[in-house]
Structure formats: structure tokens, C-alpha cells
Symmetry: C2
């Protein structure tokens, strides 16, 4: 991967940052954000809509606040610089705020949250994405899957990281249902006429819905504002699909907020441990062995996958071979 | 109301702060957070679990960060002081963070968000609440309805305020369904054995579910950490029900985050206007006249209710008469 990215003009440091993020996505069980995207990133570099040699501008607005203009860098690099700034700012002042513009798809929000958590900080990561879900009341997609990502240290090696999209199920699952002729759950999608449907094919021609109706729609809207409107990034449905639209850079925005956990209490680690303990001790519904906190599942996959070979689909192996030829 | 609260030991300033918040809840169409709670607040003062004459400690940690120990004041007063601190901090430094402990139920989060928005700030308000919904996998309630509240100025007089609980429907609606023998939607509640139910009576004996399964459960958990664990407030199911449990103060925590909108862009007002315009222009599903942004609905109710008499149920009129007798 490092070789492939270097061939496409990235320097070694940037190539390594990207490769680590991509491999991490594979290890935590999110291959949609892993190797399957490498060809797309390279295509975008070749079409000059990702800048492999960006002049990234870092502007300190205060000890707590930093603005980054990523100059259309690959998202991983901009986000890596951004989260490190956010970490340093919070360590110095208790709270950090970093706004990034002119960036691109950065992979998993949780990957950056984890860096902050490993530095013993509480963190929010916001980013937006190309249109995928319809605002409440609309029959056309506009919001991205716009994840809400929150992390906190928990005084053990498995970080608490909530990294949840605001769509009910991902498009991949609807595609699988369409292929296998299965129905999709109620409340997940509308057909092209704006009517609720459980027919996967009709759903693919229509739009996906946010979680919980107007509540999820509001959360998606919030994320669009936080990542796009505030930062100077694209917003309101203007983020281009990285796979399909090479007419220009994505100009995605990211916003990172970091907070020292011990600002108001001396024993945060003990308190969060107690919090998790109380919740884990609750009586469970049938079939549930353990109540997991957000992040535990991904961590377990990561640990398991570290010990075995990563399974790469043949078409992606082909892509990698061609890219490295 | 001011008289009633003064009789219960509050000074005039505090009594007025509470009364304005309570009236606002009535006007925006949230009577569950309005006059119906006044007797409860007075009862808690009489039972000495709300302190009518609190010595509220305000500790400046930095120009951006303030800690407040509310000394078991009524929640409205602590939150009013807190949001004003958060507003001042962000105005001075671009970002404000205020953690409050030893507070109580403060009414609607949106009420405080609105104050920040009227001061041209972006804002998050977090608070937790007594157990009402079950964590994903559990068959016992622990999280409160734990609202996520986000606000932003939008360059017109109707603020964008998302103030959404993470439970699917509120308990009041389930109570009404139980009385009228109607079914509740799927995915809303579990019976006392932890099995999904659409029977309202069984749901009342069981638990309510968070929105969107593990996603909503994670969001509720996040809010519990942000409002309780960080601040020094109660958390992990330890917030007492204000109506039923007079064994001690609630010690609720609140966390306010405020951000100047023009930190990274010079034309935030224009950008958010454009954002909202694009979304409102989308094709609508049948029966939808206008795509509303969060807060519009409440504002419309507020405007309408301002011009007419507030409807107070007879039992609450009785309570008010007794409290004022």
C-alpha cells in the first residue's frame, strides 16, 4: 500500500498514515472503509481531484482552537494532522477544537477518536459524506450517513468509542437483500415515489431513511452543520461521491472536539469504570451474554483479526496487483 | 408562580428564573415540563432535597472553562447561571465549556440552548435523568431519556434547536395507549420478561427502548457520561426520580459547550441560510407541506400560544391554588 500510494505521488510519511488507517479498517471489521477504497483514492489522485502533495495550512486561532486548510489532501492525512492538533490543544488548555476544510473521505471516525482516547481525552469527531439519506419529509437523499462519533478513556485498554451512522442500515445490506430477494425491515427506506417500502429493489431506486424519523434526521442535519457549515467544507448535499464524481475535489469538512476528563472531577477513571460496571451488571434479555459498551465489539474483532490473515476479495486483490504493477 | 416559589424560600431573582422557564415549557407545547412540575419542586424543597437558598460556587478553571457546584439548587437556577457562563466564555475565547454538579431537573434543554443561540453561538446542552430506558441487551431501565440538544443561530428569529430524547416515544403516550386499549408500535418497549411487545400495559410493566437499538443506547450512554461522569453528578442509574424519591437530592449534572460560529468562516450566517434553503427545496413526500428544521415546530407553537390562554388541567389548577393559599 505504501508503495502504491508513493507511486501516486504521496510522500512516505503520508503514504504510511493512509496505509495504517486502511489496515485498521480491515482489522476492526469495516472492509467497506478499507482496501476496497484504495483504487478509488488512486483514481482521484490521477484525475487530480485529490492532491498528493498538499500544502496543508495550520492556523492557530488560540491555544485551544486550530483551523486547517487541507488543500485537497487525501482525508487520512488531514484528519491525522487535525486530531494531533486537537490532542495537543486539549492537553494544554483542557479543551481543543479543530476545524478542517478542503479534505476528503477520511475512513472511520473511530480511528481518530481512538488516538484521542489513547491520549486520555474525551473526544467528538464529526464529518459529513455524500447524499445517502433523505431528510425527514423529503423523498430525495441529501444528508450523508453522517456519523456521530464520541470516545472516552475507560481505564482499560478497550476504549469506549461510539461511532454510529444515522442511517438505519447501510446500503450494502439493502443491496444484498435485493440480490437474494429478501425483504428489508420497515422504516428503513422509501420507494422512488416517497412511500415506505420493505422491497429491497424498490428501496435501492428510492431513498434510505435516518434512524428514528425526525430525531435521526435532526442528528444528521446537526452533523452536516458541524462538519460542513462551520468549517468551510461542503454541506447541504454538495459533497461529491468519491467513487462516481470526479468533477472536482470533495471538500469535506471535519470537526474535532477534545476535552480533558479530569477538569471537574479528580477521579474520572474510577467514575467511568463504576458507570460501566453498573450497566454491565443489569439483568440481560434472553440470548444476550454480556452488555457491551460501544467500541468493545470492534476491539474484539481487531484482536481476533490481528492473529489471522485478512480476507481480501479476488477483485480487490486484482486491483492491488494492477496498482502495484 | 413567583409568589409560590418565594413562599418556599427562593429569593425573587431565583423565583423569576424558574417561573420563566416553566412558562416557556407551557408555551412551546411541553406541558410535561411546565406547571405540572411546580408542586413537585415545592415538595422537594419542603422535604429538604432541593435547597431554596443555595450557595452556588462558580470556579473559573480557565477563560474557556467553568465549574459550578450548584449546592442542590433547583435545576433552573444552576442551569441559568451555567449557560450564561458558557455564553461569556465562548464570546471571550471562541469556545466555552461549563460543567455543573449538584443540580436538579432543569426543564427543557432547548430553553438554555436558545439563550446561547440568541447570543449568536452554537451550543450543546447535556443533562441526564432518572432511569427510563433499558441499555441495549438489558431488560431493566437505567438510562434516562437523556436528551441530545444542539442549537445554532440561523440568521433569522427562529433558532435551529434540536432537542431530542433518545427514547422512541415518551412514557405518557404509552400510558394513554394503555388506557384506551390501543397498541404501541413495534420496537418501542419490552415486557417484564425482556420480550418485545406492542401491548401498552405489558410495556408499562416492562421497559422502554432507546431509538435505533444499539445506536440509541450508545447515544444515551454518551449523554450519561457527558452529564454525569465528567461533571461529578450522579450517573449510571443513580439519578433519583424527582416525583417518587425524596430520599436525597438528585445531584444531576449538566454540561454546556458553546462555540462561536465565525471561528473558521467569515460568513457563517450566509452558509447556514444556504444550507437550510437547499434542504427545504427538496421534493417532499405526500402530505408534507414544508420540511421543518429542528426548533421550527416549537417556535410556531410558542407564537400561537403567546396569543391565547394557556390551558391548565383542573388538577394542576387545584395544586396551584393550594400552593398559593
Amino acid at each position: 500500500m505504501i508503495n502504491i500510494l508513493k507511486r501516486n505521488g504521496l510522500n512516505k510519511v503520508h503514504a504510511k498514515i493512509c496505509s495504517l488507517a486502511i489496515i485498521n479498517a480491515e482489522l476492526v471489521g469495516a472492509p467497506t472503509h478499507g482496501l476496497s477504497r484504495l483504487k478509488m483514492y488512486c483514481d482521484r489522485i490521477q484525475k487530480k481531484v485529490i492532491n498528493p502533495k498538499p500544502k496543508i495550512k495550520i492556523k492557530k486561532i488560540s491555544q485551544s482552537i486550530t483551523q486547517i486548510d487541507a488543500n485537497n489532501s487525501i482525508g487520512f492525512v488531514a484528519a491525522d494532522i487535525g486530531i494531533k492538533q486537537a490532542i495537543n490543544n486539549a492537553k494544554k488548555t483542557g479543551v481543543g477544537l479543530v476545524g478542517i476544510k478542503n479534505s476528503g473521505h477520511y475512513g472511520l471516525s473511530g480511528y481518530y477518536a481512538e488516538q484521542a482516547v489513547k491520549n486520555n481525552l474525551i473526544v467528538f469527531c464529526f464529518t459529513n459524506a455524500p447524499p445517502a439519506i433523505a431528510p425527514h419529509g423529503a423523498k430525495k437523499s441529501l444528508f450523508g450517513t453522517n456519523p456521530i462519533c464520541f470516545g472516552t478513556p475507560v481505564s482499560n485498554k478497550i476504549p469506549f468509542i461510539l461511532d454510529t451512522s444515522v442511517s438505519v442500515i447501510n446500503r450494502g445490506k439493502i443491496r444484498v437483500a435485493a440480490r437474494t430477494g429478501k425483504k428489508i425491515p420497515e422504516g428503513v427506506a422509501l420507494d422512488k415515489f416517497g412511500k415506505p417500502t420493505t422491497d429491497a429493489k424498490k428501496a435501492l431506486a428510492g431513498v434510505q431513511l435516518p434512524i428514528a424519523g425526525f430525531r435521526g434526521s435532526g442528528l444528521a442535519w446537526m452533523v452536516d452543520i458541524l462538519s460542513g457549515v462551520i468549517t468551510g467544507g461542503n454541506h447541504g448535499g454538495k459533497v461529491k461521491d468519491p467513487f462516481d464524481d470526479f468533477s472536482g475535489p470533495q471538500n469535506i469538512g471535519h470537526l474535532f472536539i477534545t476535552i480533558k476528563p479530569n477538569l471537574f472531577v479528580g477521579n474520572y477513571n474510577q467514575r467511568i469504570k463504576e458507570n460501566i460496571k453498573r450497566i454491565k451488571k443489569l439483568p440481560k434479555i434472553k440470548g444476550v451474554k454480556e452488555i457491551l459498551y460501544p467500541g468493545q465489539n470492534k476491539f474484539n474483532k481487531y484482536k481476533k483479526n490481528l492473529k489471522k490473515k485478512i480476507n481480501i476479495p479476488p477483485n480487490i486483490v486484482e486491483d492491488l496487483k494492477k496498482l502495484n504493477a
